[in-house]
C-alpha cells in the first residue's frame, strides 16, 4: 500500500459504491451468517406476537372452560388447555407481550445506567471511578435472585394485588437494579482503553469539551462490548422474569406471561406436562434467539475474531 500514497490505497474499490462504515462492514458480515439469520427469524416472530397477538389467534387467553381443563394438545387447541380450561396456544401468544416487555425494559434500564456510569467512571477516573466502582461492587455482590425476591416481596406483601403496569415496572426495576454493574464494568474498561487512544488526545488538543469527547469519541468506540452483552442479557432477563413469576413474586394473574404459565403449571407436571413444557419451550427459544444474535453481533463487530 506504499506505492500510491496520494491516490487511493489499492484494494479499496474506487467505484461509485457508497463508502462503507464499520457498521456497514459489520452488516455485510452479519447478512451471510446463518446464526444471525436464524436468530433474527426467531426474534421477529416473537416481536410480531408481542405487537399483534390477534394475528395468531382469535381465542381470549383468559376465557376458561373448566370442562376442558388440562386437555392434551389436539386439533381443537394445538397446545391443549391449562388447569382452568384456558387455551394454551392463545395464552402463549399473549404472554409474549409481558415477557418481552420485561426483558426489553430491564435490558434498556440496566444498559443505559451501566453505560452512563461506566463511561463517567472510566473517563474521570480517581474518586469518581472509585465511588462508582465500589457501589457497583456492592450491587454485584448481592445474589441476583435473592435480591430480586427480597425487593419484590417487600414492595408487594403477600395479600396485596398490584396493578398490571405497577408489577411490570417493579419486575423491570428489580432486575435492572441488580444487574447494571455488569454493563458498567464492560463500559468502564472499554472507556479506559479508548481514553488512551491518540484521537482523544487530538480532540483535547483541538479544545474539545468533555461532553464532546465523551459522546463523539469515547462512546461510539467503546459501546460495542455492551451492545453484545445487551443482546445476551435480554434473553437472560426474559428467563429471570419467568423464574420470578414461577416463584410467585414476579408477574401474576391476570397478567399473562410465560413465567406465570410455568408457575401455574408446576404442580401438574406429572399429569399434564404440556402445560409446562410449552411456555418453557418458548422461553428457551427466545433466550436462544437473543444469545445467538449476541454471538453473531460480537463476531461481526470484532475484526480480530474474523
Amino acid at each position: 500500500m506504499t506505492s500510491g500514497d496520494a491516490t487511493l490505497a489499492p484494494g479499496v474499490p474506487d467505484r461509485a459504491e457508497k463508502s462503507r462504515s464499520l457498521g456497514a462492514d459489520a452488516w455485510r458480515e452479519l447478512r451471510t451468517n446463518p446464526l444471525f439469520v436464524i436468530s433474527c427469524v426467531i426474534i421477529l416472530i416473537i416481536v410480531v406476537m408481542m405487537a399483534f397477538p390477534g394475528l395468531f389467534t382469535s381465542v381470549d387467553p383468559n376465557l376458561g372452560d373448566l370442562s376442558k381443563a388440562r386437555q392434551s394438545p389436539g386439533g381443537d387447541a394445538w397446545f391443549g388447555y391449562d388447569t382452568q380450561g384456558r387455551d394454551i396456544f392463545s395464552r402463549v401468544i399473549y404472554g409474549a407481550r409481558a415477557s418481552m416487555l420485561v426483558g426489553i425494559g430491564a435490558t434498556v434500564v440496566q444498559v443505559v445506567v451501566g453505560v452512563l456510569l461506566g463511561v463517567l467512571g472510566g473517563f474521570f477516573g480517581r474518586w469518581v471511578d472509585v465511588i462508582i466502582s465500589r457501589i457497583g461492587d456492592i450491587f454485584f455482590g448481592l445474589p441476583f435472585m435473592l435480591g430480586a425476591i427480597v425487593v419484590l416481596t417487600t414492595l408487594n406483601p403477600p395479600q396485596s394485588s398490584p396493578g398490571q403496569v405497577a408489577i411490570i415496572l417493579q419486575v423491570v426495576l428489580s432486575i435492572a437494579v441488580l444487574s447494571w454493574p455488569i454493563s458498567m464494568r464492560l463500559m468502564r474498561s472499554a472507556t479506559l482503553t479508548a481514553k488512551q487512544q491518540d484521537y482523544v488526545k487530538a480532540a483535547r488538543s483541538l479544545g474539545a469539551s468533555t461532553p464532546r469527547i465523551i459522546f463523539r469519541h469515547l462512546l461510539p468506540n467503546s459501546i460495542a462490548p455492551v451492545m453484545v452483552y445487551a443482546t445476551i442479557a435480554l434473553g437472560a432477563n426474559i428467563g429471570a422474569e419467568a423464574t420470578l413469576s414461577y416463584l410467585g413474586v414476579g408477574l401474576r394473574p391476570p397478567v399473562v406471561s410465560w413465567g406465570v404459565m410455568v408457575s401455574d403449571a408446576a404442580t401438574y407436571f406429572e399429569t399434564s406436562p404440556h402445560m409446562l413444557l410449552i411456555p418453557a419451550g418458548f422461553v428457551t427459544f427466545t433466550v436462544l434467539g437473543f444469545v445467538m444474535l449476541g454471538d453473531a453481533v460480537r463476531d461481526a463487530m470484532d475484526p480480530k475474531s474474523r
Partner: protein, 334 residues
C-alpha cells in the same frame, strides 16, 4: 532578532509513582522532563531528538497542555501559556496544534474524514460559518494532497501515509502558528516518510508555520530543521543550529548519536570511528547525580558526578551541557 514566538523556561514534568493497593502513597517521581529551556522563532523548525524515554513526547504533551507541567513557564506570543484558562485557553488551541505519532490511532475510526477534518470548525465555530465548512474541509484535503472526494470515507480505508495527511489537515484547519510534530513520520515507511516530510516543508512555507519537530532519528530531523536540540533523560544536552549540531557537535552524547547514523558510502565503512555507548539509559526515577550522561560517557571525571553541567555556550559557539565540551577531531579518517 525578533521576539521568539515560543519561549520555554525551566519546564519540569514529574510523574508521581504510586504504590499500594488500598492506600496509595507516592514512592517516587519519574522525572520525564527536568528543566528544559528553549526558544522557537517564527517560521523556524526546532528539532528535538533523543532516545526513547528521554522525555520528548512528554515535552510535546506538556506544551499542548495535555499534561499540566510540574513547574516552569512557557510564553507563547507574549502570554504565559500555562496560566491561560477558559476562553483564552481555547483561543490558544487555535494557534498551537499537534500532529501525533501514530496515524493508526490518531483518527477516530467511527468518524468520516470529513467529520475528522471538520471537527476543529465545530469546536471553534467562530473560525468558519456553518455553510462554508464543507468547502474548507475540501480545501484542506486538497492542500495535504488528498482528493476532496474522500470526504465520506473512513480512516480504515486509507494507507498509513494518507492517514497522516488527514492528521496534518486536521492540525492545519485552525490555521495555527505553531505545530508540534510528535514523531510524525516514525510510524511510516521510509518512502512515505520523505513525502510527508516534504509536505510539512511545503506547508511551512505556504502558511509561515513554526514547528517543534520531535524525532528519534537524527537524519530525519536534519532534512527539515533550522535548529536542533538533543535531549537525554529529561534534559537538553546540546542545542544549536543544524550545522553546529551535525558538523561540530561538542557533547559526547550527540557525538555518539551521530556516529551511529549510517553513511551511504560503503568505502567509508571501517574508516570512521563508531562510538559505541554501553549500558542502558538510567531510570528517570533515579537519574545519576551531576551530569546525567556520565554513567555512559567515556570522558566522565569526578566533577561530572558532583556538578551538573549547565547548558551554556561552550566550545563550538553553541549551547552544550558538558564539562568537557569540545569538538571531536575529524571523525572520518581517510
Amino acid at each position: 532578532m525578533a521576539e521568539p514566538i515560543l519561549q520555554v523556561t525551566d519546564l519540569v514534568k514529574h510523574f508521581p509513582v504510586r504504590q499500594g493497593v488500598l492506600f496509595k502513597h507516592i514512592v517516587g517521581q519519574v522525572k520525564a522532563v527536568d528543566g528544559v529551556s528553549f526558544e522557537l522563532n517564527e517560521g523556524e523548525t526546532l528539532g528535538v531528538v533523543g532516545e526513547s524515554g528521554c522525555g520528548k513526547s512528554t515535552l510535546a504533551q506538556v506544551l499542548m497542555r495535555l499534561e499540566e507541567p510540574t513547574s516552569g513557564s512557557a510564553v507563547f506570543q507574549g502570554k504565559d501559556m500555562f496560566s491561560l484558562r477558559g476562553k483564552d485557553f481555547k483561543a490558544l488551541r487555535r494557534d498551537m496544534q499537534i500532529i501525533l505519532q501514530d496515524p493508526y490511532t490518531s483518527l477516530n475510526p467511527r468518524m468520516t474524514v470529513g467529520d475528522i477534518v471538520g471537527e476543529p470548525f465545530e469546536i471553534h465555530p467562530e473560525v468558519a460559518p456553518k455553510g462554508s465548512r464543507e468547502q474548507k474541509v475540501r480545501e484542506l484535503l486538497d492542500v495535504v494532497g488528498l482528493s476532496p472526494e474522500h470526504l465520506n470515507r473512513y480512516p480504515h480505508q486509507f494507507s498509513g501515509g494518507q492517514r497522516q495527511r488527514i492528521g496534518i489537515a486536521r492540525a492545519l484547519a485552525l490555521r495555527p502558528k505553531v505545530i508540534i510534530c510528535d514523531e510524525p513520520v516514525s510510524a511510516l515507511d521510509v518512502s512515505i516518510q520523505a513525502q510527508v516530510m516534504n509536505l510539512l516543508g511545503d506547508l511551512q512555507k505556504e502558511f509561515g508555520l513554526s514547528y517543534v519537530f520531535i524525532a528519534h532519528d537524527l537524519s530525519v530531523v536534519r532534512h527539515l530543521c533550522d535548529r536542533v536540540a538533543v535531549m537525554y533523560l529529561g534534559k537538553i544536552a546540546e542545542i544549536g543550529t543544524e550545522d553546529q549540531i551535525y558538523e561540530h557537535p561538542t557533547h559526547p552524547y550527540t557525538q555518539a548519536l551521530l556516529s551511529a547514523v549510517p553513511v551511504p558510502d560503503p568505502t567509508l565503512r571501517g574508516h570512521r570511528e563508531v562510538i559505541r555507548l554501553t549500558g542502558d539509559v538510567p531510570s528517570p526515577m533515579d537519574p545519576p547525580s551531576g551530569c546525567r550522561f556520565r554513567t555512559r560517557c567515556w570522558k566522565a571525571q569526578d566533577i561530572c558526578a558532583q556538578e551538573t553541567p549547565a547548558l551554556e555556550v561552550r566550545a563550538g559557539g553553541h549551547l552544550s551541557a558538558c564539562h568537557f565540551a569540545e569538538e571531536k577531531p575529524e571523525v572520518i579518517a581517510g
